[in-house]
């Protein structure tokens, strides 16, 4: 389900407060769940669409929690949780059309959900049964990229290709605040800018790069950096799914219409650990966490739905039940994932026959077979 690009013009019961926000931080929904106006960005969805965004966020949070639980139970070697970033991912994810193409990091489980990628696909790499595990072209959702920043260049190149071929759609490249320090990201900005490539750089500034806070990466707000490369940058409240949707839609439309790249900085927070091997108590204060918990993207959307009478108890219950079902399904399919055959490491390394590979495949195959039945 992709929400309509133009907005369906349905009625919204909640009153908009005018001018309540800081224009440098696009916000359409306050932490209390009230709609507010912004001079440049607006959103007007049907009640069903509003409920859809809430549903997405709840399901994504649940999928993520299931990833963490599976890791704790030894079913995954590692998990990179997104707790707190649901609005940034669902908002930007639902802003994409079928023609758009997304290049994720290793944490875009919510974007994957919006692109209709089977959540079980995301687990293979973390379980250690594959190093990618899906066909990126099936849903226009590229493989997860672990090396920080690399994918921003791939996204730019892909956008250059789309542009040459006159293809519909734009590209969206995800990266973190820490990644903004990498040469690759800055090179991607240069290439995108000089080629006027249809790419949106979507930075989820979750305040931390493992243990390093924003101050260790930059002194100028990220969205302002775009100006130096010659394209627009905007900062959006990353815990506000409506603002994330509106801003990303506009940015993708800007790119699709031949206006070149745009940088969106979603100002958000990583409420959990960086990954399941990380211990945030070593570097982060409990107060900071509390402060951000009050801005929880899901609670905010729920408050809006309640205040505006766009949803009732039955709906919330239904979504929670659906989340339980999705989680149970993922769990069952995760534990059913079998280990690859060792010989499969020789598969797909080259497109054409490779004599060394063939020789080693035969040698190792014979060696491994000699153990069969031995234990």
């Amino acid at each position: 389900m992709v929400t309509s690009r133009k907005g369906a013009g349905g009625k919204t019961a909640a009153k908009k407060k005018a001018g309540a926000t800081n224009p440098d931080l696009v916000q359409l929904l306050t932490p209390e769940g009230d709609l507010v106006e912004h001079p440049e960005y607006s959103i007007d969805l049907t009640p069903e669409e509003y409920r859809g965004l809430y549903r997405d966020m709840v399901l994504v949070r649940r999928i993520d929690a299931e990833g963490t639980a599976l890791q704790r139970q030894g079913e995954l070697g590692l998990w990179a949780p997104l707790l707190g970033q649901e609005a940034a991912q669902v908002g930007s994810g639902r802003a994409q059309t079928a023609e758009d193409y997304a290049f994720p990091t290793y944490r875009e489980h919510g974007v994957a959900w919006c692109r209709d990628v089977d959540p079980v696909n995301l687990l293979g790499m973390f379980r250690g049964v594959n190093n990618g595990g899906w066909d990126p072209n099936e849903k226009n959702f590229h493989l997860y990229t672990i090396v920080i920043g690399s994918q921003t260049l791939h996204a730019t190149g892909y956008a250059m290709g789309m542009q040459r071929d006159g293809r519909e759609g734009a590209v969206i490249a995800y990266f973190g605040d820490g990644a903004s320090s990498q040469g690759d990201v800055n090179e991607a900005f240069v290439f995108a800018s000089v080629n006027n490539a249809p790419v949106v750089f979507f930075c989820q500034n979750n305040q931390w790069a493992i243990s390093e806070p924003n101050e260790r990466q930059f002194r100028v707000p990220l969205y302002q950096r775009a100006a130096g490369f010659g394209f627009p940058g905007v900062r959006v409240d990353g815990n506000d799914v409506l603002a994330c949707l509106a801003v990303t839609r506009a940015a993708l439309e800007h790119a699709r219409s031949g206006n070149g790249p745009m940088l969106v900085e979603a100002f958000t927070y990583r409420m959990g650990a960086h990954t399941t091997t990380d211990d945030p108590t070593r570097y982060r204060s409990a107060d900071e966490l509390e402060e951000w918990k009050a801005k929880d993207p899901i609670m905010r959307m729920r408050a809006f739905l309640e205040n505006s009478k766009n949803a009732d108890e039955a709906f919330f219950k239904e979504v929670d039940d659906e989340a339980d079902a999705v989680a149970a399904d993922i769990r069952a399919r995760c534990v059913a994932m079998t280990d690859p055959q060792p010989i499969s490491i020789f598969d797909h390394v080259y497109a054409e026959p490779h004599p060394l590979m063939d020789e080693e495949r035969a040698e190792y195959g014979a060696y491994w077979e000699s153990f069969e039945g031995a234990h």
Binding site: G77, L78, Y106, G124, M125, F126, R127, G128, V129, N130, N131, I146, V147, I148, G178, A179, S181, Q182, G183, D184, A209, I210, S211, E212, R216, Q217, F218, T277, D279, R282, Y283, D339, P340, Q341, P342, S344, I345, F346, V349, L356, M357, E360, Y364, Y367, W368, F371
Partner: protein, 331 residues
């Protein structure tokens, strides 16, 4: 000297490096550490744990997330008289810095007619066996050993790690310092008042008479286990810890092969163009008439590092080493 550097104690390999870094920071005010997450977090493996607390943020520097930046600025700091020790978080993340290392760090002294030096240590946790996701288990040592101007060493146990890191920091040449991450938690007794073995020398770690195993880093332990198993079957294997990959110290290997007549090289990196290939060629040249069998190599196949669920099959283990020993005896 602080108490921590005079008392005999049980230490892990990561602690060995930690204590070695601590001692280097104490001894020389020009030594500084740089890397991602090395401060409050103490590094993702806690190798630098507590050092920022004791030496301050100016000596133990959390850098931006940019490996080319880390190594490139270390070059400048070295030119300005400092001795930077940089941490690359994982083997697979050294590549953004590869350009700086091979085009700048390695060649600076020669280009400056010896007028400047590059006393930089680049610490890289390397190798697999810890169940990690991709890019976290690689063995990139041959890329660096192939580049003239760099020195490349690999520690294999806690005591060696303690001494070697200090010697690397004291070296006026750039040193790529490989730490076997699957051995970080191994323990041994450290006597900090002992006299260390020279840095750029390989070392016989188990004497034997029937065949020689040469390894470095994580595979030294595997070879020692293989030698112990072989002893039960009546075969005496000599094990050599290479320790230094560039320069390669092969004299002890030649001496060993002249005695045993059989050589097996063992590393996690791919056999194709790995360190073992160079050793095999050299030993064939120098010990041709002593060899009872061709030099055999044990290592990884020429494939990308596999998903962790099959890494135990991919990585050399005791069986693979003993299998090669059997083959050497079959000639």
């Amino acid at each position: 000297m602080s108490e921590s550097t005079t008392k005999t104690q049980q230490i892990s390999l990561s602690k060995g490096i930690n204590l070695g870094l601590r001692r280097a920071l104490e001894d020389d005010p020009k030594v500084l550490l740089m890397g991602e997450d090395i401060g409050k977090l103490g590094g993702v493996f806690r190798v630098t744990d507590g050092l920022q607390k004791d030496f301050g943020e100016a000596r133990v520097v959390d850098t931006p997330l940019a490996e080319s930046g880390i190594v490139g600025t270390a070059v400048g700091l070295a030119l300005a008289g400092y001795r930077p020790v940089v941490e690359i978080q994982f083997d697979g993340f050294v590549y953004p810095a590869f350009d700086q290392i091979v085009t700048q760090v390695a060649k600076m002294r020669a280009r400056a007619l010896g007028k400047v030096s590059m006393p930089i240590v680049i610490r890289i946790p390397f190798g697999g066996g810890i169940g990690a996701v991709e890019h976290h288990s690689e063995s990139p040592e041959a890329y660096f050993a192939m580049t003239a101007g760099l020195r490349v060493v690999a520690a294999s146990n806690p005591v060696e790690a303690y001494w070697m890191i200090q010697q690397a920091i004291a070296s006026d040449d750039p040193v790529i310092f490989f730490e076997p991450k699957r051995r970080y938690w191994d323990k041994a007794e450290l006597d900090p008042t002992a006299t260390p073995y020279p840095l750029y020398a390989s070392r016989v770690v188990r004497p034997g008479t029937d065949a020689t195993l040469v390894a470095y880093g994580p595979m030294v332990k595997t070879c020692l286990e293989a030698a112990a198993a072989a002893a039960d079957e009546g075969r005496s294997l000599e094990v050599i810890d290479l320790r230094t990959l560039s320069p390669l110290d092969l004299e002890p290997v030649y001496a060993s092969v002249r005695k045993t007549g059989r050589l097996i090289t063992v590393h996690e990196a791919s056999v194709f163009l790995g360190m073992g290939a160079e050793i095999a060629a050299k030993v064939t040249e120098k010990c041709f008439y002593s060899l009872e069998a061709p030099v055999l190599r044990v290592g990884a196949p020429h494939t990308p590092y596999p998903p962790s669920r099959v890494e135990e099959e991919f990585l050399p283990d005791l069986d693979r080493v003993l299998d090669a020993v059997d083959r050497a005896f079959a000639f």
